[in-house]
């Protein structure tokens, strides 16, 4: 009895388009990769694979969260001072940019499933463009920091006038963490760009919507990481 229930849960899909009906799956046709029987099956594996990968990515940034938390206990004053000196308005605008881009790509996935290919493609490329805006703003911020004399490793003129313990640590982690995040943004843009191209020129059939979903889910994770980096570096 138990077995049967499990199987049902595994193969019968919910109403949501994430899991198409089994009949649909047969219509979609055979899998393109060796170990799977159906494309539906393969899509699920790909999605699970992406999520497991994202779990791994989250732990990568988890190291920064642990460091930031610990150093905040050790250098409460220094961190407060550094946060106040940060480019809050630019950083906050960047948060808004990423939130908008996430919305765009989520809507893109939605409309692609409905078959509105062009709109979906346009939204994907809007997302890529917003990613570019994010990176541009980020570079502007770096430029401002360098102009002020804030360099990673506690180097630069700014530190001559500011010597609260913890400032050097804050800025080094800031540069390393946001730099790593910017690398993820870049990878996400490339990923979305490739999928977006095949959406636009029609080479991505609806049955392969999961490829767009994978890129979108990756992009959302980049957003989620930033949602936490933003308050830690800019707000308080």
């Amino acid at each position: 009895m138990h077995t049967q229930r499990r199987r049902l849960k595994d193969t019968t899909m919910s109403e949501h388009p994430v899991h198409r009906s089994a009949a649909d799956a047969v219509a979609i046709g055979p899998a393109t990769s060796e170990p799977f029987d159906t494309l539906l099956h393969q899509a699920h594996a790909a999605r699970l694979g992406m999520w497991v990968f994202l779990a791994s990515e989250l732990l990568l940034f988890g190291g920064f969260f642990a460091l930031l938390t610990a150093y905040r206990f050790e250098h409460a004053d220094g961190f407060r001072e550094a946060v106040h000196a940060n480019t809050k308005v630019l950083g906050s605008m960047n948060t808004l940019v990423l939130l908008t881009s996430s919305t765009c790509v989520a809507v893109a996935v939605h409309v692609f499933r409905e078959g509105r290919r062009r709109l979906a493609g346009a939204l994907v490329f809007t997302t890529v463009a917003l990613g570019a805006v994010f990176l541009t703003l980020k570079m502007t911020e770096y430029g401002l920091h360098f102009h002020e004399g804030i360099f990673p490793g506690g180097h630069g003129e700014w530190f001559l006038h500011h010597d609260t313990p913890g400032l050097a640590t804050f800025w080094t982690i800031y540069f390393v963490a946001t730099g790593l995040h910017a690398m993820h943004v870049t990878v996400g843009m490339i990923f979305l760009g490739i999928v977006g191209r095949s959406v636009l020129n029609g080479r991505l059939p609806r049955a392969h919507a999961h490829r767009l979903e994978l890129a979108a889910v990756y992009w959302h994770l980049v957003d989620v990481v930033w949602i936490f980096l933003w308050p830690l570096f800019y707000l308080a």
């Binding site: 595994d10 170990p35 990968f53 460091l67 610990a70 313990p165």
Partner: protein, 566 residues
């Protein structure tokens, strides 16, 4: 349970036997023999063999270095190398053994070979990523070795800052090598997790999987969730050493103890990456040679998950003397005891499984008995070290060295050898000689014990690890240890010799030489490229020894036909 058309067939009705195979059936070994067909293969079995060759090479290399270290310690002062060289050699030994041998040893070889077969799949979920992970491993290993030759590395495998930030050796390429090897480990783990969730054959419930799959699955969770933190800490060390930004540099407000937190958050669970697959091997070998249903399948499966989980809670016990707070030390101390409980449950279940069995003392089982003894000994000394006050005396002494060698050599390497003998017929299609196997097993045990037991006593006597000069009164114990190490080395060479001989001249292995019920024995030896000639039906559990062989086999075989669509 109900049997339906779409569900698992558990009816006892006999099924027609598959047509007898032709005289020389093709196998994954004969299916393409060019070098290219090996280097570009996506067959998990071939990738497993590629991994096997690589990790064996690094075991050999690490072993040579270990012998060099032991020979150096024949006298309290300089024997065959200088302190400068000694520090590089012990670092090299540690880095190679941990990152290039132990971590990939069982998961990437036996796990890769057997996991898809054991769940009735044709391959892993992402075959190309599987091949990619081997190349990433090779790239990382090459960078590491390059660093070791060009500048060497003298930080110890733990890379503690600020020493690693100041060390004149090639820290940056070495830690980047470790970083790269880490990605290979993450991809392997990811592949296993997805395969277990999506590629199980019809009717193969999670709780009907062979226990080895549970062990590999639990290992994969650790690989996926802990390795990125190692990656991050290696990147931060590279930044500190290469660019001098001083994230952990106290002169800029950094805290070197935080590096240790990051490092051990990976490197303690990494111990379970090494030992959990070993436990998986034990869980397969004991039921087969005792012809016995495990005393408690659930206990073994759940305790694997339990070890994987609690493994994340215990890293701080490496840091009792490092200057962490007493509160944290207390918390980590008691959390460490949880792991011991889960491990002990496994040991009890294994031993209880033997009760009223029909035990045949073959080489794999002999290794498992060695494992049990050494693992209990090594594990209990772990409990001792986790008892916080004792660690103040033992930390960073030879006691700790002996403790983790009992787990990693006595545990992981012994189980690796058990698995090597157990699955040798399946992988190669040949049988090894049982008599030499048992002799080598006894030699391995003796060599190991003589090497590492004296090191417990050295630790008690207060000899710190990573010491080039030591007090002359410790010399006798060191000499005994060195003699043991030479014996262990000779035993390993003996194994290499007779297995190499068996590979060519050994008699042909039957499909199921041990009469096992586990699923990998349902296919041919060596298996065909797609693992099964026909879609298998896993009608019986993998440990059902309550029926005789004929009956069990009747359930396992299925008519040759196309596979069902899920």
């Amino acid at each position: 349970m109900t049997a339906t058309a779409t569900d698992l067939d558990v009816t006892a009705a006999p099924v027609p036997t598959a047509a007898p195979t032709s005289a020389k059936p093709s196998s994954y070994l004969t299916d393409g023999t060019t070098v290219r067909s090996w280097l570009l293969t996506t067959d998990h079995k071939r990738i497993a063999l590629l991994y096997f060759v690589s990790v064996s090479f690094f075991l050999f290399l690490g072993g040579i270095l270990a012998l060099a270290l032991r020979l150096e310690h024949l006298t309290p002062g300089p024997t065959i190398m200088s302190a400068y060289t000694y520090n590089r050699v012990f670092t090299l030994h540690g880095v190679i053994m941990v990152f290039l041998f132990l971590i990939p040893s069982i998961p990437a070889t036996f796990g890769n070979f057997l996991l898809p077969i054991m769940i009735g799949a044709k391959d892993l979920a992402f075959p190309r990523i599987n091949l990619l992970s081997w190349y990433i491993y090779l790239a990382g290993a090459a960078l590491l070795i390059w660093a070791m030759i060009n500048g060497g590395l003298d930080t110890g495998w733990t890379f503690y800052t600020p020493y690693s930030a100041h060390s004149p050796s090639a820290v940056v390429p070495a830690v980047l090598g470790v970083f790269i090897v880490g990605w290979s480990s993450i991809l392997t783990g990811l592949n296993f997790i997805v395969s277990v969730h999506t590629l199980r054959a019809r009717g193969l419930r999670l709780m009907k999987m062979p226990l080895f799959v549970w062990a590999i699955y639990s290992t994969s969770i650790i690989q996926v969730l802990a390795t990125p933190v190692l990656g991050l800490s290696m990147v931060l060390v590279a930044i500190d050493a290469g660019l001098g930004w001083g994230i952990f540099d106290p002169s800029r407000g950094g805290d070197p103890v935080l590096f240790q937190h990051l490092f051990w958050f990976y490197s303690h669970p990494a111990v379970y990456i090494m030992i959990l697959p070993a436990m998986g091997v034990v869980s397969e070998v004991i039921p087969t040679f005792a012809r016995k249903v495990p005393y408690s399948y659930e206990a073994i499966a759940y305790s694997a998950l339990g070890i994987a989980f609690t493994g994340f809670l215990t890293w701080g016990h490496h840091m009792f003397t490092a200057g962490i707070s007493a509160v944290d030390a207390g918390a980590f101390g008691i959390l460490s005891m949880m792991v011991a409980v889960f491990s002990a449950i496994k040991v009890f279940t294994w031993v209880a499984t033997l009760y009223k069995g029909s035990i045949s003392l073959t080489t794999p089982l002999a290794y498992v008995f060695v494992f049990l003894f050494l693992f209990v000994f090594g594990g209990m000394t772990g409990v001792a070290v986790a008892s916080t006050s004792l660690d103040l005396h033992w930390h960073d002494t030879y006691f700790v060295v002996a403790h983790f060698h009992f787990i990693m050599v006595g545990g992981a390497l012994t189980a690796f050898l058990a698995g090597l003998h157990y699955w040798f017929p399946k992988v190669t299609g040949r049988m090894y000689g049982e008599r030499l196997g048992l002799v080598a097993c006894v030699l391995v045990f003796a060599g190991f014990f003589v090497t590492f037991f004296p090191q417990f006593l050295l630790g008690n006597a207060g000899m710190p690890r990573r010491y080039y000069y030591y007090s002359p009164e410790h010399q006798p114990l060191h000499v005994i240890s060195t003699i043991g190490a030479l014996g262990l080395g000779a035993a390993l060479l003996l194994i290499l010799g007779y297995l190499g001989w068996a590979l060519v001249y050994g008699e042909k292995a039957p499909d199921n030489p041990w009469g096992s019920r586990s699923y990998e024995w349902l296919t041919r030896s060596p298996p065909p490229t797609h693992n099964f000639d026909a879609t298998p039906r896993f009608a019986l559990g993998p440990y059902d020894y309550t029926r005789p062989d004929e009956d069990a086999h009747a359930h396992a075989e299925a008519p040759a036909q196309g596979h069902d669509h899920v």
